[in-house]
């Protein structure tokens, strides 16, 4: 586990306990001793915050390579991210958060990253929590770690309607995955190769987090929630408005119900 600080750039000799052996099999280079980590930052018109998010990730853990998935931004997001030293994948037009994140996972899969962390380009996820979030994945205890707002701190106070929606989905998802899930809407996640491979192949379109959690569990991946801090948006405004919340509620409910009757083919996730 790399919760301890190590000098920049050197990295510690780490192996994914669970996946280490198997990775060596399908890795032409042979045994892998260093973990290659990718931070996936989906960004749609986030020029005000994207550069500072990149800088913060660097500060928190310099070993991370950073990929900004520009989801058809019309502002300077792409140029600023590139100037800040991030890899940039620029979608030709706005595809929505689900497709943007999925493109990031496909990038990670193609280039053989061992770990991927997804965090929003608006700065609401604190890169200082990266080590905490990664710990259970690096230890090989789980395939996907989900940063949750509710487990620890009390700063986050969503509106009543939102709390209701979040609570409802938490209840439903917990039942489906037979495991306690408190924050189903969190887009702050860490994944190992199994998680990357699954989400590169199959990821929901819009408001993807709730369905993605269920999807991962139905494919037999192991999940854990990790308490993290969430910050209020520093710039821009949340994409969640009243009519969209209604759409969100109905769309995700429908997807969850249909999902119960869907067969999940054994993907080559391991």
């Amino acid at each position: 586990m790399w919760s301890g600080r190590s000098p920049a750039g050197t990295g510690r000799r780490l192996r994914l306990l669970k996946d280490g052996g198997r990775d060596a099999d399908n890795d032409a280079v042979g045994e892998r001793t260093f973990l290659r980590c990718l931070a996936i930052v989906p960004a749609f018109n986030e020029e005000a915050s994207v550069a500072s998010v990149i800088a913060e990730i660097r500060d928190a853990d310099p070993r991370f390579e950073i990929l900004v998935v520009d989801d058809g931004s019309t502002d300077g997001t792409r140029e600023l991210a590139s100037a800040a030293g991030a890899h940039v994948v620029s979608l030709p037009f706005n595809l929505g958060i689900g497709a943007a994140v999925q493109a990031g996972f496909e990038y990670a899969r193609r280039r053989g990253y061992d770990l991927a962390v997804q965090l929003d380009g608006d700065g609401q996820h604190d890169p200082a929590d990266l080590a905490t979030l990664l710990a259970p994945v690096v230890a090989g205890d789980v395939d996907i770690a989900i940063g949750t707002r509710f487990a620890a701190e009390r700063h986050y106070r969503p509106s009543f309607a939102r709390r209701l929606g979040i609570g409802l989905f938490a209840r439903v998802v917990s039942t489906i995955v037979r495991q306690r899930v408190t924050d189903t809407t969190s887009g702050f996640r860490a994944l190992n190769r199994s998680g990357i491979r699954l989400f590169a192949a199959d990821y929901p379109h819009d408001y993807p987090e709730v369905e993605a959690t269920v999807l991962a569990r139905r494919h037999g991946l192991r999940l854990a929630e990790v308490p993290v801090r969430m910050r209020y948006r520093t710039e821009g405004c949340s994409s969640i408005t009243a009519p969209r919340s209604a759409y969100y509620l109905v769309k995700v409910s429908l997807a969850l119900m249909i999902g119960l009757f869907r067969r999940y083919p054994a993907l080559e996730t391991r």
């Binding site: 994948v89 979608l91 030709p92 497709a99 493109a103």
Partner: protein, 125 residues
């Protein structure tokens, strides 16, 4: 007779529909695979409009006493099938479109990396 006139109008509409669909195919604005459902719809309406005996049987079977209403009910069902079919076509298109856009973006990134790597020395400055 009202019923007779309704059948005539329906028959003309069906012929018009079939004609328009055929013309769209001829001018390559409509692919055959998407035209088949429309032609089937037009064909069924036409059949029921001119073969009034069959329309009577259908109306009786579905419990509608006024046969021309049965004709339009049948037509409505076919329109629904066509619309639903197009919804699935659109979903499929959206999915392939998404995948294409993702692949394109990933390829552009890779291409750009290759350009930088293999750029002639004088152009790097």
């Amino acid at each position: 007779m009202t019923s007779m006139r309704a059948s005539t109008v329906a028959a003309l509409a069906a012929v018009l529909l079939i004609g328009v669909v055929l013309e769209l195919i001829r001018s390559r604005r409509l692919q055959e695979r998407y035209a088949l459902l429309w032609l089937l719809t037009g064909g069924v309406i036409l059949l029921l409009a001119i073969w009034r005996g069959l329309l009577g049987v259908v109306a009786e079977a579905i419990g509608i006493h006024y046969p021309p209403s049965a004709l339009f009910a049948v037509a409505a069902v076919f329109f629904l099938v066509v619309l639903l079919h197009y919804s699935t076509v659109i979903s499929k298109l959206a999915e392939t479109n998404k995948t294409l856009a993702q692949r394109l973006a990933l390829l552009e990134t890779e291409l750009e990396e290759h350009r930088v790597e293999h750029a002639p020395a004088q152009r790097v400055a």
